[in-house]
């Protein structure tokens, strides 16, 4: 079945199998930041932003993404010029093995896009679908707060 979707602002026409998930499709297209963790929506490692909302790409059939817009962490920054969320994660020690990080960052990005100054509870709620087995979450929450502060400061400057 043929679908047209937008991935990271780029429109793509692709052939998909009926049983293919959005996660399968994104990885097949080369967006390897999107991780297969549990395959049942319990870990959040496959989180991407679809039409402005964070979703588990393992729980979505690729066919149903026809006409929609998907953003992965590849759209955020590069090693030379990381996104403020990415640098905040590094500086706060919010990354250890790194497997959960792309999903965490996308869930955090979806939050900050809607709510630039979240409270600690709002951050916890936004990340409650993402598991991390290394860091213990404290640094991750700290990273989101740091990124929020810097994004606000940057906005003021402009």
């Amino acid at each position: 079945m043929e679908i047209i979707l937008t991935v990271n602002k780029q429109s793509r026409k692709v052939e998909v199998r009926p049983a293919e998930t959005l996660l399968d499709l994104l990885r097949r297209l080369g967006y390897k930041s999107v991780k297969y963790g549990c395959g049942e929506g319990a870990c959040g490692a496959c989180t991407v932003i679809m039409d402005g909302r964070p979703v588990n790409s393992c729980l979505i059939l690729a066919v149903t993404v026809d006409g929609r817009e998907v953003t992965t962490v590849e759209d955020l920054g590069t090693i030379q010029k990381p996104h403020l969320l990415q640098s905040a994660f590094v500086e706060s020690g919010a990354v250890q093995c790194g497997f959960c990080t792309p999903g965490m960052i996308m869930a955090a990005k979806a939050l900050l896009d809607r709510n630039p100054s979240p409270s600690e509870d709002e951050i916890k709620e936004a990340l409650d679908g993402n598991l991390c087995r290394c860091t213990g979450y404290v640094q991750i929450i700290e990273a989101v707060r740091l990124a929020a502060r810097r994004m606000k400061a940057e906005k003021k400057k402009n």
């Binding site: 009926p18 049983a19 998930t21 909302r53 588990n56 059939l61 066919v63 869930a107 679908g129």
Partner: protein, 288 residues
């Protein structure tokens, strides 16, 4: 994942036409958060569905409408939309709370209330809230429309009486009356991403300081969702008090054992459902 054929229905008409031809083993997919997990758990040797019918493009199955007395929710409305809806927050706040406790943010963004109902899990969070709202389910098929009290569609855990040629097209209920207070409490092993160990939905209507109407429905406590009329009776005609709420809680736990029997989980569930009921009633009275 096990291979299957997929048909995308662009309209309700198209979906009902397909179901009317009675192809074997059709599974309807809405949000997919339950179905895809189920399909992925099948081994390649097991038999999957013949056809997965995707109804997500059908706009008339989405959204929340309020005509001033009756609220109608399209089955494809997501839990996030219900939790955030000003209509639901004002006229059925316990349903907003119930939907906000389901899964995690990522699930609430795609999972639908129709899926939650038709999946038929005894632990479904939206169901006890809909049951105390005395909701009706509307089904459509090529042969017409069928309206049923929601409570009556549940046949056994994970099984509803939806016919093979039917689609759930609406859930509807009356706005809560003036003076009504409601509460929904979910108890999971953790706050996020947990399936309810138990939950409880209550509505009470006060006139002055007297309870004139009470509706109580526990989730994950009885094999089929239902109101616990014996506990409701204890409340009606009385003034709210801690002692009264304790008695109602005890009645709910007694009724749970009557209906579910003594199970391995009973020593835990018996006192906990009583306490949850008491707490929900207290919370309902203290609100507003």
């Amino acid at each position: 994942m096990i291979p299957f054929n997929l048909v995308r229905a662009e309209s309700l008409e198209e979906a009902l036409d397909l179901l009317d031809r009675q192809p074997p083993d059709v599974k309807i997919i809405a949000g997919g958060t339950d179905l895809l997990v189920e399909l992925r758990s099948l081994s390649p040797r097991e038999k999957g569905p013949g056809i997965v019918l995707d109804i997500t493009p059908i706009d008339e199955l989405k959204g929340i409408e309020d005509n001033g007395s009756t609220i109608t929710i399209g089955p494809l409305t997501t839990h996030r939309e219900i939790a955030a809806s000003p209509i639901i927050r004002e006229h059925a706040p316990l349903l907003s709370t119930a939907c906000s406790t389901i899964g995690a943010t990522q699930h609430r963004n795609i999972a639908t209330i129709g899926g939650n109902v038709i999946n038929g899990s005894p632990a479904a969070d939206s169901v006890p809230a809909l049951i105390v709202l005395d909701a009706e389910a509307v089904f459509k098929s090529k042969n017409g429309e069928r309206v049923s009290p929601l409570k009556e569609i549940f046949v056994k855990p994970y099984r509803t009486d939806i016919k093979e040629d039917e689609i759930l097209t609406a859930l509807r209920f009356e706005r809560l009356p003036e003076g009504a207070r409601s509460s929904f409490i979910k108890l999971g092993r953790r706050n996020a991403l947990a399936i309810s160990r138990m939950n409880i939905a209550v509505i009470i209507v006060l006139e002055g300081n007297t309870i004139v109407e009470a509706r109580i429905s526990p989730g994950s406590a009885t094999p089929l969702p239902d109101r616990i009329k014996a506990a409701e009776k204890i409340l009606i005609g009385n003034e709210p008090s801690e002692e009264l709420f304790r008695r109602a809680g005890k009645e709910v736990s007694g009724e749970m054992i009557n209906r579910s029997g003594i199970r391995w989980s009973t020593p835990y569930k018996q006192p906990v459902i009583a306490a949850l009921t008491t707490r929900a009633l207290r919370e309902a009275v203290e609100k507003r």
